[in-house]
């Protein structure tokens, strides 16, 4: 029994998975997050979804695998990573009336080379004692009244570089540099850890406010990460920030069909499933993300915590284009030092 199991592993390692209908998904997203969706898809269609979670170097691996690559669908978080795949010529155009109907034009490539699948907002976590704090702008994070009161993860993390890139598009490099310096001056501790640590640090009085992704609020409060995290989630208040005179900064998770996809048809079918009402609902349920499809349900835990979401008008592509400049700016102001 043991020996056959071992031999099975050896065989699987040597020849790779095989089945009649299958689709190979390379993802920078932890597969546990999308597993419920993929399982639902397999149950419905009978198609096996093979996955590998390649957090760093996805594009390099697919490029190296070349013409005989196994990858069908490449899935990433952060629009910059998605557009990178297109820029490196690793994606192929897809024409699908289903995808075009479901994903708003601002959240997909005009030529069908990338599609957003889910959305998250960068929101404010705050100390519950700040009862007067009802609204805040991203620009307002630089207000000296927050000196020593702000917690953030690394400025080099894609979630933060995207936000800084967004500020760059809105206000230009000089104002953004001044803003970032002022934000740095407000930091209570060195940028480190993840978004959840911001909530935990607010609870510990290390800081009063911080920025984190919207879905963590749902994840923490749902208690799925354990009672500790539920305490962190319940211990903070959450405010939906906006840019002055604009809307909230959102980022996406999305996917492309690999240029060399051996199972192209199946790849497109998987994407079409992922933007269906059912899957979009599951995104909200499983991950507390916002659906990209209009009218798909949003988890009540999110709506009750955050209220309505007004997305800022700056196109995601513009933000992605400024990502590198934002990253260099983080170095320049020594944000993480």
């Amino acid at each position: 029994m043991k020996a056959t199991g071992f031999a099975g592993i050896v065989l699987a390692a040597l020849i790779g998975p095989a089945s009649a209908a299958e689709v190979n998904l390379y993802t920078t997203r932890e597969p546990g997050l999308i597993r419920p969706l993929l399982d639902a898809y397999t149950a419905k269609s009978g198609v096996t979804v093979n996955t590998v979670f390649v957090e760093k170097g996805l594009a390099e691996r697919v490029a190296a695998e070349g013409a005989r690559a196994k990858a069908d669908v490449l899935m990433t978080v952060d629009v910059g990573n998605l557009i990178d795949l297109v820029d490196r010529d690793l994606a192929q155009p897809v024409r699908s009336s289903v995808l075009e109907a479901a994903v708003p034009a601002t959240l997909r490539d005009a030529d069908g080379r990338w599609f957003a699948l889910s959305m998250r907002a960068r929101v404010l976590y705050a100390d519950k004692d700040l009862s007067d704090l009802k609204a805040i702008t991203y620009e307002g994070l630089a207000d000296p009244k927050w000196t020593g009161g702000l917690c953030l993860r690394s400025g080099q993390h894609p979630y933060n570089t995207a936000l800084i890139a967004h500020h760059l598009v809105k206000h230009g490099p000089e104002k953004t540099e001044a803003w970032l310096r002022a934000v740095k001056a407000n930091l209570a501790r060195k940028p480190a850890g993840g978004d959840r640590d911001v909530a935990r640090d607010i609870l510990a009085d290390t800081c009063q406010i911080g920025i984190g992704n919207s879905y963590y609020v749902g994840l923490m409060r749902s208690g799925r990460g354990g009672p500790e995290q539920q305490k962190w989630g319940d211990g903070i208040k959450v405010v939906m920030p906006t840019f002055a005179g604009g809307g909230t900064h959102v980022n996406i998770s999305g996917a492309v069909v690999s240029k060399t996809a051996p199972n192209r048809e199946e790849a497109v079918k998987l994407l079409e499933y992922l933007v269906s009402d059912e899957a979009q609902g599951l995104y909200a349920k499983a991950d507390y993300e916002y659906p990209v499809k209009a009218g798909a349900p949003i988890d009540p835990l999110l709506t009750s915590a955050l209220g309505p979401l007004t997305i800022d008008a700056v196109p995601l592509v513009e933000i992605a284009r400024n990502r590198k400049a934002a990253s260099l700016l983080v170095d320049k102001v020594g944000f993480d030092n």
């Binding site: 790779g16 190296a64 500790e228």
Partner: protein, 566 residues
């Protein structure tokens, strides 16, 4: 005597040639990712450098330098100090301590960072209890130093990496330094003078080897450093590569780091050149331990237990506690058995190959021209100096090239191309482990062979045995404990390895490390603790074996030293 003579000897020549060819192939394998990096670096411009010089490097160099200095000092103090304690003194609990001191080796740096951040956080169990005891109401009433800092990172890395120094240093105290140490004692030197004037200088090669391995681990660490907010050069390589999609720039920084590391290693080698301490063919005495009594004995035990507690017992208990809670709440993760299987399979295969290659490469200087053999050792050890993910990225090109060559060949012969074999199979993973950790196996084998009195292989050769036979019949049995400990170190390293595993593993393959990383990446630490605990547990198996090998085998080796087989 073995050097030039054997290379010229006509009877040995064909075998030596075959050996050289194999050695060169190995060098090519290890060098291939470096070459790929050079190519990648060449594709970029130098445009990044003014920015790096102005805004990144000063801080990164400073942080990296302090981190290495701090971790280096800590691993030497903890490693050599504890090795001396258990080698030179007898006290209640000593044997247990001797074993326990190795345990932190089973804890990966990223796991210790996760565990301690949870434990030491202002609202974590330690500070909460402390506040309750002192009667403080809120966290701000009692602010302790922040763990997410350079000193915090140094402490955590130092306490899990010191066994790299402890292991070889203890062996050296036990086996080799005994005669001189006892002479010093008999001449009335104080214990501290004996330690600082005799034992420590003699242990320098072992300390240097261990410290350099520990420092490589510290330099390549990405999980703990990033998590604790320390901006090392390695973190900057990642930032350049991942956040700016600038592989060329990342490769340029990585190459500069590589050059710096190679230069440092060369300086270290040069500084201890000619200071090898090969044993004599006479039976070396075991060091007689001084018996400690009363409070001294308890003091010694307490002192020795401190690194075990901080580096192992505390984080491991925390993991046990969290994992138990996880299992009570929602049972064992369904995929865990398959993950254990994958982990053991890939790490196991890589370990066996690394041990065999490591021994042969380490024996190179005795087999062939000494200079060629030593050059080979340096090249084959290079993979260890590269950050894991950079090495994995560098391997993508060569693996793809191998695939393309193979496909072209089979197309010509059979008219069909096979699926990718180099990339996206277990082969890629094993190759990565091998390139990365061969240095560990070589290093320990080198140390083991260095302890074999030079007169023995020379005698073998004079009695008409070829170099291969001498190696197999004389040196291998004598250096066997070192070969096994090297292999076990490689095994633990492979089980813990993360960045290359993340990038290169096949579809649907999770190892314990990637499982844990996935859970940490989506913030469900609790779900990851079972995997974390298993990684630590898997790491413990070799530690236990190391110990069983350690003391009794040392006696065994003593006997073999005096009674070499005909």
């Amino acid at each position: 005597m073995t050097g030039a003579a054997s290379a010229l000897s006509p009877t040995v020549r064909p075998r030596a040639l075959a050996w050289s060819a194999a050695a060169l192939a190995l060098c090519a394998l290890v060098l291939s990712p470096v070459v790929a990096l050079v190519v990648a670096a060449g594709e970029g411009s130098g445009a990044l450098w003014p920015h790096l010089v102005a805004h990144v490097l000063p801080q990164a160099l400073w942080d990296t330098g302090l981190l290495l200095a701090g971790v280096g000092a800590l691993v030497i103090v903890l490693g050599a100090g504890s090795a001396w304690l258990v080698a030179a003194y007898e006290f209640p609990g000593r044997r247990l301590l001797e074993a326990g001191l190795l345990l932190p080796m089973a804890v990966p740096t990223y796991i210790i960072a996760f565990a301690y951040l949870d434990l030491m956080h202002p609202i974590g169990p330690v500070q909460t209890t402390l506040r309750d005891m002192l009667g403080y109401a809120r966290p701000r009433d009692l602010v302790l130093p922040e763990l997410r800092s350079l000193p915090g990172c140094i402490l955590l890395l130092g306490f899990v990496l010191y066994p790299y120094v402890y292991l070889p240093t203890r062996a050296l105290f036990l086996m080799q330094a005994a005669n001189l140490i006892e002479a010093a004692r008999m001449l009335g030197r104080s214990p501290s003078a004996t330690f600082f004037r005799i034992a420590l200088p003699m242990a320098r090669p072992a300390i240097a080897l261990g410290a350099s391995l520990a420092l490589m681990e510290a330099l390549n660490d990405i999980g703990a450093a990033e998590f604790l907010g320390v901006r090392t050069l390695t973190v900057q390589v990642y930032a350049t590569w991942v956040n700016r999609s600038d592989l060329a720039g990342a490769a340029q920084i990585a190459l500069v780091m590589l050059v710096a590391v190679v230069a440092l290693v060369a300086v270290e080698r040069w500084a201890r050149a000619g200071r090898g301490f090969a044993g004599t063919a006479q039976r070396p005495r075991r060091l007689a331990r001084r018996r400690l009594t009363g409070f001294r004995a308890w003091g010694a035990l307490g002192l020795g237990l401190m690194p075990v507690a901080i580096g192992f017992a505390i984080p491991a208990s925390y993991l046990v506690h969290s994992a138990l809670r996880r299992v009570m709440r929602s049972g064992l993760p369904e995929t865990i058995l398959a993950e254990i299987g994958h982990t053991l399979l890939y790490a196991g295969v890589a370990t066996v190959i690394a041990a065999a290659l490591g021994f042969v490469v380490a024996a190179g200087p005795g087999l062939l021209s000494r200079r060629f053999g030593r050059a080979l050792i340096r090249v084959a050890s290079l993979g260890y100096a590269l950050p894991g993910a950079i090495l994995a990225i560098g391997l993508l090109g060569p693996l793809a090239l191998a695939d393309a060559t193979l496909a072209a060949g089979t197309m010509q012969l059979f008219g069909v191309a096979p699926a990718l074999i180099g990339l996206g199979t277990g082969g890629a993973l094993v190759t990565a482990y091998l390139v990365r950790f061969l240095a560990v196996s070589i290093g320990t084998c080198e140390a083991g062979l260095g302890r074999v009195p030079r007169s023995l292989p020379d005698a073998g050769r004079m009695l008409g045995r070829g170099p291969g036979a001498t190696l197999a019949r004389v040196q291998l049995p004598l250096a066997w404990p070192a070969v096994v400990s090297g292999a076990l170190l490689v095994f633990v390293d492979c089980v813990k390895e993360l960045p290359a595993t993340l990038l290169l593993r096949p579809l649907n393959v999770e190892t314990l490390a990637t499982h844990l990383y996935g859970e940490a990446a989506r913030g469900t630490y609790e779900d990851g603790t079972v995997a974390a605990l298993l990684i630590v547990a898997v790491g413990l198996v070799p530690v236990v074996v190391l110990l069983r090998l350690g003391t009794p085998r040392a006696d065994h080796a003593d006997r073999r030293l005096t009674e070499p087989r005909p």
